[in-house]
């Protein structure tokens, strides 16, 4: 049973992982500009980084997913929200570090995001609001990905069970 699990997980990971990697690296972004894409990719990795447990947002193809969603289905409001939000963050980054988001160090990106996420529950101003949008999209894209579900969370369900699991009364 346990081995069966592992084998199936491994299969899923390779199949899904290749697909996502393909989208993220080889293909050019469809909604974002190249620069925007690079920034989003790094910001998302800052929000959900690779650690010793599992790969992060970059490997999970989060930016590619959001790029495709924005191009294909999000409304004009969302498109505008992302474009403008990214512009503001880039401007803040230039002012603070004299470089763009993709050009600063991971630690500097943490500093940058800390500045715009002081009170997530009551975001003030367009940058803090955009942080919530960015974070929400990152979390959804990551935790619904193959890496998020199978590696990070290591979710065990969505399988056929002969017997229920848990404590019988």
């Amino acid at each position: 049973m346990a081995d069966d699990f592992k084998r199936r997980d491994l299969f899923r990971l390779t199949a899904g992982g290749l697909l996502v990697a393909g989208l993220g690296k080889a293909e050019t972004p469809v909604f974002f500009t190249k620069d925007e894409y690079a920034a989003v990719d790094e910001l998302m990795e800052t929000i959900i980084p690779t650690d010793d447990h599992s790969p992060g947002a970059k490997a999970a193809g989060c930016a590619a997913y959001v790029d495709r969603q924005l191009a294909e289905s999000f409304g004009d409001k969302e498109k505008h929200e992302w474009r403008e939000g990214l512009k503001l963050l880039e401007a803040r980054c230039q002012k603070k570090f004299d470089k763009n988001i993709a050009g600063i160090t991971p630690h500097q990106r943490i500093e940058l995001l800390e500045e715009v996420s002081k009170d997530e529950e009551h975001p003030k101003g367009p940058e803090e609001k955009f942080f919530n949008v960015l974070k929400g999209a990152t979390a959804f894209a990551y935790y619904s990905s193959t890496i998020g579900i199978h590696k990070e969370i290591n979710y065990k369900g969505n399988v056929y069970l002969q017997e229920f699991v848990g404590t019988a009364l």
């Binding site: 974070k135 935790y143 969370i153 056929y160 229920f164 848990g166």
Partner: protein
Amino acid sequence: MEHSHEPMANVDFNTVYDAIVVGSGAAGGMATYVLAKHGLKVLLLEAGKKQDLTKELHSMQWPYDHPRRGEMPQSDHALNFNEYTFRKSPYAKGMNYNHVYSYVQNWGGSDYSKNIVVDEKDNPYSGTSYAWVRARLLGGKTAIWGRLALRLSDYDFKAASRDGFGMDWPISYKDIEPYYDKVDLFLGISGHKENLPWLPDSIFQRELKLNPADMLLRESLKKMDRTLTPYRAGVTTDGLKHNHYRSRCFGRGACNRHVGGCDIHAAFDSPTGVIYPAMDTGNVTLRTNATVYEVTVDPNTGKASGVSFIDSETKRTYKAKSKIVVLGASTLESARLLLLSKSRQHPNGLANSSNHVGHNFCEHIMGPGITGLVKDLVGKPRTLDDGHPGGFYVPRFRNLKTKNPKFIRGYGFEGGSGCTMIPGNAMSTPGFGAARKKKVRDEAGAFIDMGAFGEVLPRYENYVEIDPNIKDRWGIPVLKFNYKFGPNEKAMAKDMADSAQEMFEEAGIEIVSLNREILTEGWSIHELGTSRMGNDPKTSVLNQFQQAHDVPNLLVVDGSSHVNASCQNPTWTIMALAWRSCDHIADKLKKGEV
């Protein structure tokens, strides 16, 4: 013998059927089955299409295998809580989306039920705020229902005698008990015996198991003389020898994702559970895309003579004739149909000499709920926690042995715990970065939550009527709501939150969030009571066999017949009552007494 289950476009309109059944959900489906089994020739008319549920539901699809991870296109929209309160109905009016759906579409994975729930643009309604969820397809709302299958007891049927509010039902538990048994055995139900007089046990198949957090709460509640029992699921967990359209449950948990629905039909749905078996008798003619807009009456006798319907696609109209007419279009749609069916003999609408049709409208109040964290479970190795068709149920404990000074009646909680496919805390945990990532992972399996469903009192002044100014896509006048929660509900809702807090504290569960806000009217999707049963034709619409007092060959077998809402979910009772009434009318027909 197996017969075709395909709908027919060309129904024989010269035949006088024994019965016309309107609607194919829990109520109409069960009525069709029972009448057909009695050898009666039944014409079943359903407004929606027959959908291939396996294709629609994609129960086992992983989010990353769906192009939008289960979300519907941005060109479509699902109403949310705020929109039901801040916008005015008809809710889709002036919205630029291709389709506007009810809030259930927001339950992660809305792309899977877009062909199941109705488009508000085609199906408007007006009046006070109400979140009205409708499913127009063969099987109605049973395609996506939550499956919590509970019995009512004399605490409900005789509630008026206990606390003086409203009216007793014209039946008691012993009248309906044999029919609950029949429904249990025919459809299959999972649960654990608790011997509670206010929540009678069913004849259960294999029961669900509990997660560690559930067990913790169960043990703690015992000390408070309260019960936590495994979800009583309208699901066949052992399989059914007499029904090969339905598999046994394999604990895939899919029915708790994508809005719900089980593509192997272990969870009850009306097509595989009752309609195909009914069609296999050879006695049923099924016509889908048939929206009934009037019950016709014989101008001489004033009795029902059949129905008029419009083809939902071609918009052609037809008339069909029958000896009896059985309405199972759902609580509000059946009331609408009665009110629309005006004639010389029934100027107020059919079966409405009492002026009670559309009134005493009741349901369940929702909103208050709680989420907690079990500290001992944080950081534990991952386990499989959601391989079941439901978590747990905490039955009513108020106004049973003692009297609460602030409100009458009661409420129960539905809940669950453990790790789900996309854990809730993955979205809600504050912060970002490596520490947050670890926190999400460590805590993903340690949460437990529950939300309350409380009885809304049946009050005459809560009602629906016809809005002559607004029509649906087919030109049929729509319903106008005049419905509000009252002081009893609000006092009860406050107690729901207080008691939830007390129970979690008592169990040593850290409270992460406590919601005290009431959700919009309608949220429970348990609308009931618009044509109540009773012994007095002056104050009720139907007799104890769901026959209209005014029109003995007309039955209304859905939740509109319920005299009060209880706090237990209604569907199992709807089916038990429909069975009982259809046995009764079939007997009368055979004896020539209708």
